[in-house]
């Protein structure tokens, strides 16, 4: 029937409009989020450089920026939510693993354990450079104005940054082991009424071992993305 058809197309237009509004809200939120995160990590970078220039040493630098670092790194949990509700096209698991490993370092390793400052500085510097590049890449992408050098940085710097960051993280966890063993922190011994035990020392060792299967997977995932993004561009240029 004629009126039935009209109702059908009106309904379709309404759902399309709803989809478009939802898409616009999502884009607006993501743009705001990525600008905020770029700014946050820039603030961290500036604070670190200022400290080093003023004090002439890296000792005490971590304690100085620890609160800001924890704030912005924890905020990144939202990214897992973005993947889960589908406004970002990345696997929830990949994002989840990356964000969780960061949160773990910042809240459960460096937060509670005084340690060798060099390895901490190493991974914090790496994280800062990586995150500024990553978030500005997302921001410019969302604004549809992506300078080539940002794209280049995002898909090339990780080749060096990723392994350096892993080295910094592993050295930091390793340096914390003696203190963890001595203090028995975060551990639960038998006997207790829940009949379970937890040894943070062995847990940290397992975490370190888990880098062996996990790091190559994440690294090759980035390499594959790099080949797809940069290789794809070359093909288009040839056609032109």
């Amino acid at each position: 029937m004629a009126s039935g058809e009209e109702d059908g197309t009106v309904e379709e237009k309404e759902t399309n409009n709803k989809k478009r509004t939802k898409g616009a809200i999502a884009t607006a939120w993501l743009t705001f989020y990525n600008i905020a995160m770029t700014a946050g990590w820039l603030v961290l970078a500036v604070a670190m450089v200022r400290y080093y220039l003023q004090k002439g040493t890296h000792k005490g630098l971590y304690r100085n920026i620890a609160r800001t670092l924890k704030f912005f790194q924890t905020f990144a949990l939202l990214e897992v939510g973005h993947c889960a509700i589908g406004i970002v096209r990345t696997s929830v698991i990949v994002t989840g693993v990356q964000v969780c490993s960061r949160i773990f370092m910042v809240w459960f390793v460096t937060n509670s354990i005084r340690q060798n400052e060099e390895s901490v500085i190493l991974f914090v510097v790496v994280w800062t450079i990586t995150e500024i590049t990553r978030y500005s890449f997302y921001t410019f992408n969302l604004l549809n104005h992506l300078p080539y050098f940002i794209k280049w940085a995002r898909y090339n710097m990780f080749i060096v940054m990723y392994p350096l960051g892993v080295i910094g993280e592993l050295l930091t966890i390793h340096a914390s082991l003696p203190y963890v063993r001595r203090s028995g922190m975060y551990s639960l011994r038998l006997p207790n009424k829940y009949n379970v035990s937890f040894d943070y020392y062995y847990f940290l060792i397992i975490v370190m071992l888990s880098y062996i299967p996990l790091f190559p997977q994440l690294y090759f995932h980035m390499l594959r993305q790099r080949r797809r993004v940069l290789h794809g561009e070359i093909v288009v240029e040839k056609d032109e």
Binding site: L190, P191, N192, K193, Y194, N195, V196, S197
Partner: protein, 304 residues
């Protein structure tokens, strides 16, 4: 006598992903043969549409919606293993592993405790319940269950065994530990827990028997399960998959009996997995049977 007109088909089989022509058969009679020894039948998925459902072994070429030239799509399901094999392996593991911890086999606990027995009677009771549970499962696999699929992908056996065997070792370690702490509320708690456990074991068995009786031997027909004379099956009025409901109940009972956090964790993970399965089963019941009872929930009456 008049000659019967025989219809011959031409059949081509394409790879579902690449659309390469794998094989072309002309003058196919009524039966479609499996066309390779490497891709043994259980591994072959033949379908009318590259992204559609597989055809069944019983489907007859003449009755399919194809013209005289039929195009089928082939997908390799990967190495297969029979369900019975998987079930026997994944259940035999926990049975034996738990007993190893119960008898305090060397290299698990401090050497002075090797081959000793726990002084708490609830530990002996727990061993009996755990062993009974897995013996029941093994016997059901051999004599009760009727499987609609013959096989599953080979990698499942590694995944499933890691899950069952890993959790069994984790909980057995603490329950049979020399420093095990018995439940806080003592005999009352253990008695209640045992009652719940036994009730749910009988319930679970009753459901398995009821489901088996729905399906005559050798057939693959599907029917709506209904309550029988056995009171333990009356739960079918409220739930689509009461076997999972009773299974959850059994493990809640065992958790209460042992007051052991790893057991609670195992119960929780199992519950999540069974809820996913129950919801899927419930959905397929609703799709297949238009007169499916509306009062039923997938796994928990009125809740889930």
């Amino acid at each position: 006598t008049a000659r019967k007109a025989v219809v011959f088909f031409e059949v081509e089989i394409l790879d579902a992903k690449t659309k390469d022509k794998l094989c072309f058969l002309d003058k196919v009679g009524k039966i479609l043969p499996s066309f390779s020894l490497y891709w043994y039948p259980a591994r072959q998925s033949i379908r009318l549409d590259p992204k559609g459902k597989s055809l069944k072994d019983e489907d007859v070429l003449q009755h399919l919606p194809v013209g005289t030239t039929a195009t089928f799509y082939f997908r390799d399901l990967g190495a297969q293993i029979s369900w019975v094999t998987v079930f026997l392996t994944e259940y035999a593991g926990p049975l034996l592993i738990y007993l190893m911890f119960y008898f305090r086999v060397p290299f698990i606990y401090v050497p002075k405790y090797d081959f000793t027995t726990s002084k708490h009677w609830v530990v002996h009771l727990a061993c009996m319940c755990h062993s009974f549970h897995y013996v029941k499962r093994l016997l059901e696999t051999l004599f009760v269950h009727r499987f609609s699929h013959g096989t599953m992908p080979l990698r499942n056996i590694f995944k499933n065994c890691t899950y069952y065997w890993g959790f069994a070792a984790w909980m057995a370690y603490y329950i049979n530990h020399p420093l095990y702490t018995p439940p806080t509320y003592g005999e009352q708690q253990i008695r209640l827990a045992l009652t719940v456990f036994l009730f749910c074991q009988i319930g679970n068995f009753s459901i398995h028997i009821a489901l088996r009786n729905l399906r005559p031997p050798g057939s693959k027909t599907r029917k709506i399960p209904y309550p029988t004379k056995n009171p333990f099956t009356w739960i079918f009025l409220l739930v689509s998959c009461p076997n999972y409901t009773y299974e959850l109940g059994s493990w809640l009972g065992f958790t209460l009996m042992t007051q052991c956090l790893p057991v609670a964790a195992f119960t929780l993970v199992g519950f999540i997995q069974m809820t996913v399965w129950a919801k899927g089963k419930h959905r397929s019941y609703l799709k297949e049977f238009r007169d499916y009872p509306t009062l039923r929930s997938p796994i928990l009456p009125f809740i889930l």
